[in-house]
């Protein structure tokens, strides 16, 4: 795929690498996840989507 096509496509080309496998079992953004859980526990999902 040419650079122009890459830039114009909505769904990106993703290069799969084993180098990132080590992060699969980790929560890298622990604080953000905790904050998300706090907010979601309080407000849930949109009313028509529960």
């Amino acid at each position: 795929m040419k650079i122009k096509e890459l830039n114009e496509s909505k769904t990106p080309i993703v290069k799969i690498t084993k180098r990132l496998e080590k992060y699969k079992s980790k929560v890298v953004f622990e604080q953000k996840l905790q904050e998300a859980n706090r907010i979601l526990e309080r407000v849930g999902l949109p009313e028509n989507k529960r």
Binding site: L6, N7, E8, S9, K10, T11, P12, I13, V14, K15, I16, T17, K18, R19, L20, E21, Y23, K24, V27, V28, F29, Q31, K32, L33, E35, A36, N37, I39, L40, E41, R42, V43, G44, L45, P46, E47, K49
Partner: protein
């Protein structure tokens, strides 16, 4: 999201992404991670800089690499990749600072029509989810891929 974006790398499950910001301060590796919250099917979007020396991730770093639009577009493109593999999930996103949440809101506002073609998008205002509207300040965002039209 047809703006310029960086090439994404991921592992096979497409839950962890990495790309390199290239700008005024050189190459800065960035990481995006989708982690399931306590509500099954709802994933938190985490995003931050990767320190090359320590390998640690900092989601409050301000890189000032002069490419914030391209970085934001790349993060948005990871949402397309993630929801192509997991089309039924919800994605929760909020900035690590108010300034970053504002940046997300501006990015969504700028591309709203295009985003709404493919996603349902809600903003959290005064502890209530509402359909995203321009000009409203939100504390967080919730995104879901619309069903693929056949």
């Amino acid at each position: 999201m047809k703006s310029k974006k960086y090439l994404l790398e991921s592992e096979a499950s497409l839950t962890v992404f990495e790309f390199n910001s290239e700008g005024l301060n050189g190459i800065v590796p960035k990481m995006v991670e989708y982690t399931e919250t306590n509500i099954p099917g709802v994933f938190n979007l985490g995003f931050g800089d990767k320190n090359l020396e320590t390998g640690e991730i900092d989601d409050k770093a301000v890189t000032n690499n002069g490419d914030s639009q391209k970085v934001l577009t790349t993060v948005a493109s990871s949402i397309y990749a993630f929801t192509s593999k997991y089309p039924d999930v919800w994605i929760f996103a909020t900035g690590s600072t108010q300034a970053r949440t504002r940046l997300y809101r501006i990015g969504i506002t700028t591309n709203l029509l295009e985003i709404q073609d493919d996603f349902e998008i809600y903003g959290l205002n005064e502890d209530r989810w509402q359909i995203f509207q321009k000009g409203v300040v939100y504390d967080a965002f919730l995104i879901k891929r619309k069903s693929i039209k056949l």
